[in-house]
Amino acid sequence: MMIEALIAVALIGALVTFVAPNRIAGKLAFVISLVPAALSLWLFAAFDGSGNALLDGELAFESQAAWLEIGDHSISWFVGLDGISLPLVVLTTILCTLAIVSSWTPIDDRESQFYGLILFIEANLIGVFSALDFFLWFVFWEAVLIPMYLLIGIWGGPRRKYAAIKFFVYTNVASLVMFGSFIALVFGLGDSVTSFALPEIATAMRNGGLDGLFGLGGPALASVVFIGMFLGFAVKVPIVPFHTWLPDAHVEAPTPASVLLAGVLLKMGTYALLRFNFTMFPEQVEAYAIPIAAIAVISVIYGAMLALAQTDLKRIVAYSSVSSMGYVILGLVAYTTFGVGGATFQMVSHGLISGLMFMAVGVIYNATHTRMVTDMSGMADRMPIAVGILIAGAFGYMGLPLMSGFYGEFTIFFGTFGSELLDYSPLFTSLAMFGIVIVAGYLLFALQRTVFGPYRLETDYEVSRAPVHDIASMGVLLGLIILLGVAPALIFDMITDAIEPIIGGGL
């Protein structure tokens, strides 16, 4: 019942915040969000699961209740955590709390609605990572869209209406494609499944229970479904060439929404890829390994090149997310314990680092009201602590050892290089490693121009030290990044424990 408690607190908190007066909404939402954050840390401490949730693992905090019956299949409320989902749940609750704190300065209009929506997103994100029934999972998956649409649309920048509808329609169409593919899979499994429970479906798939459907044979159907679902999730991740909604959404979104978007929403896509495509279809992964790896490498390089060409700080961080998600896909397709484990670690690590970067950009914007690299220089002069944390975060992004980014990328490269499933894996790995050079290039270039040198600002605002609460929330993130960099085993052990059943041992 612990997961239900987490979701319920966030949902009820959302309702309470929605009707609370604007003036106290921010503080109220913060206090409420501390409850799921504390609970999720307790879950982390009390975690007693083992193995993979979909493949006969021991689930932690499992609970199940019948929901509805349709035809020969039942749909149920079914939640539980394993070593893959638990770190993501903790990431969600912590980032939501910090996003709320980082909203105190910039959000000054319709506050109660804003904070209500953030808590509502939090409830659904926890649901996405803990649901183990397809329909339940899909309800949470889709329900994230509405609050994000409103957050971008109401509190966003000048082109917010365009960005919001683009985000909504892109991801919704992708979801419909994915949904149709998955349902075809379930019916293709015929009598070997009697419910939409993901563990049952995954087990049946791996036992080769897939019959044909629509006149397609089992393997052909599996390929069609695999591609359909891959496309559906690719938009969410996003993978080049489905990434165009991302920079628009990020640039127009208010900073706290960007933090959640980059920190958690993108991980929904990679998490779903891992849970569905890479867990249920080992044969198709092998068959399509080379094209997927190629797309991953293109995402890494092309995303980084795009970031290099930007002069808007937020756009730089946004495109760099496309690049970082490319690493995750590469790690997944390597299909080794270190590759997939590193990819999962990178999801958490990138969530923390990109969250930190967006917050830092937000803090600078709050003070200067510009995000253009060309509009400012020498910011270190006026806001030394905030800029210090920004620089630390940037080094985390570039993969400085003893920070979480290093461990994530290192394990991905390590796992990919020796991959047996992926042909030419050394080539793909070395190409992707080149992305790190570009990352260092654009981050250092942007930092050099904005934070160092003599103080100069094109806009008419008086810049002083950043507010304490912003520094504190960035400090928490930086602390976590360093903690995971120093002691990656904190989560890497449970991740590999959950990943081994998928891969079947090996590197």
Binding site: I70, I183, L213
Partner: protein, 512 residues
């Protein structure tokens, strides 16, 4: 065998209660002509529809008309002219729900109206017709129920006698309605000519035996069926008799638009489900007329949903957008009939029925919100709705719920019905791959619909208001109806189990 050993005709109680309520309203009107006692009139209508709802729900829970339970079973009334089964009760629930919401909301909407008693009695009378339609089991009783519904509806659309739009809409509605009634009745005569029977089960028996002249009259029968489909298309606002809908919904008072687009559409569909599953068994009929009637519905479904959605996307007037969206949803529900030829077709039909129930809440609520906007006196276009959320967050929140639910986005119950329809359609497509075309049409239309539904949410919540307004009034009746509909739209997401069970059982019972 009925519950509590009551006579069989008591099984029609949900419809009879509505009929009784209409008579009481006439009585009140004759005692005090031109009464403006809104509380009494609206209260009577609401009480009547709520009792009808309560009885229908009670009957469903108690298993009246349920097959597969000992001592229970379908109840035949008047030698099979009427039949009370799960299908009939399910639709009686939808109709009673919509009637209740509409009569509650009318309390404020009709504030200064002259013909209060007439209005409520016509609404309840039309609801009686719809409720009877759900239980009709012969082409004669069906036609009578159809006319009992249509005649009050014509008057209701035109009831704002001083309003040009309302009168024009009423006239258009009447002319097209009369034409389609004529077509329907001509279809009835052709079917009678071919089979020699009007009672649905006897028509089926004749077709299945293939006795006598029937086998020779495939063309006549086919034409008759096509004309029946025409009559149904009018009632459900489907292509090719859909074009009255935008005019009538736009001109009519908003509660009546809600009533017609939700309850009247549901009644049209129960008619379609009943006639085509009972009277024209697929194999036998196909054998005689040489063509599968599900094909007609498949084509109509695709054309109707596509036309409805594309037209809705181009509207500037909110009520017209909702009217076209209502045509689009008729297309979704038609899938329920189009998939009947495949294995698992009864599940698709069940999902379509679920959609009608959910639609009864979300679409009624959406039109009632338009009624609220008319009450406030804001304009009719999307732009006029800009920024209303700042003045009336609760009503606008409810409207956002309706819009997202109509688009099928969770966490609202429109999600269930649309995605279960999609799910079962893919299941049925395993048997008949041609149905994948329908599934594709559903996906494309559903994705497109998000555009215009979210456009209204954008207007309400994101856009800046055009002019500065004072705080908007909060009329009790309209607010109560809208909030109730929104709450149900949300609550049915977790509590969808009973709805799904009822719809699937009802569908399985008639399809079998």
């Amino acid at each position: 065998m009925a519950v509590l050993e009551l006579p069989d005709w008591m099984a029609l109680a949900p419809a009879l209660i509505l009929a009784g309520t209409a008579l009481v309203l006439f009585l009140i009107d004759s005692i005090e002509p031109h009464s403006t006692n809104r509380t009494l009139l609206s209260g009577t209508a609401v009480a009547g529809s709520l009792s009808s709802l309560a009885v229908a729900v009670w009957f469903t829970v108690a298993g009246v008309g349920a097959t597969g339970i000992e001592n229970y079973g379908v109840i035949d009334i008047m030698d099979g002219q009427f039949v009370v089964d799960q299908l009939a009760l399910y639709f009686m629930i939808i109709i009673a729900v919509v009637t209740a919401l509409v009569t509650v909301a009318s309390y404020d909407y009709l504030q200064d109206h002259t013909y209060q008693a007439e209005y409520y009695s016509l609404v309840v009378l039309a609801a009686t017709g719809m409720s009877m339609m759900a239980a009709s089991n012969s082409l004669v009783t069906i036609f009578i129920a159809l006319e009992l519904t249509s005649l009050p509806s014509y008057a209701l659309v035109a009831i704002l006698k001083d309003n040009r739009g309302s009168v024009e809409a009423g006239l258009k509605y009447f002319l097209i309605g009369a034409l389609s009634s004529a077509i329907f009745v001509y279809g009835v005569s052709l079917v009678y000519g071919a089979t020699g029977s009007l009672q649905l089960t006897r028509i089926a028996a004749v077709l299945e035996s293939g006795d006598g002249a029937v086998a020779e009259m495939g063309g006549l029968l086919g034409l008759g069926i096509l004309m029946l489909i025409g009559g149904i298309a009018f009632k459900t606002a489907s292509v090719p008799f859909h074009f009255w809908a935008p005019e009538a919904y736009e001109g009519a008072p908003a509660p009546i638009s809600a009533f017609l687009s939700s309850a009247s559409k549901a009644a049209g569909f129960v008619l379609a489900f009943r006639v085509f599953t009972t009277a024209f068994p697929l194999e036998a009929t196909t054998g005689i007329i040489g063509i599968d009637w599900t094909l007609a519905f498949a084509i109509l479904a695709i054309v109707t949903m596509t036309l409805g959605n594309f037209a809705a996307a181009t509207q500037e007037n909110v009520k017209r957008m909702l009217a076209y969206s209502s045509i689009g949803h008729a297309g979704y529900v038609l899938i329920g009939l189009a998939a009947l030829s495949a294995d698992g077709g009864d599940l698709v039909m069940g999902a379509a029925m679920m959609h009608l129930l959910v639609y009864g809440f979300m679409n009624t609520g959406a039109f009632l919100f338009v009624g609220l906007a008319e009450y406030w006196g804001v304009g009719r276009t999307f732009e006029d709705y800009n920024g209303l959320a700042e003045r009336a967050p609760f009503a606008c929140g409810a409207m956002a719920v309706f819009m997202f639910s109509l688009a099928g986005v969770p966490p609202f119950s429109g999600f269930w019905s649309k995605y279960l329809l999609y799910t079962e359609l893919i299941n049925a497509a395993a048997d008949n791959t041609a149905l994948l075309v329908l599934a594709a049409a559903l996906v494309i239309n559903s994705a497109l619909s998000l555009y215009y539904y979210s456009r209204l949410v954008k207007a309400l919540w994101i856009e800046e208001p055009l002019l500065d307004r004072d705080r908007l009034a909060q009329p009790t009746g309209l607010y109560a109806a809208i909030i109730a509909a929104a709450v149900m739209t949300i609550v049915l997401l977790p509590a969808f189990g009973p709805v799904a069970d009822a719809a699937l059982e009802a569908a399985a019972a008639v399809v079998a």
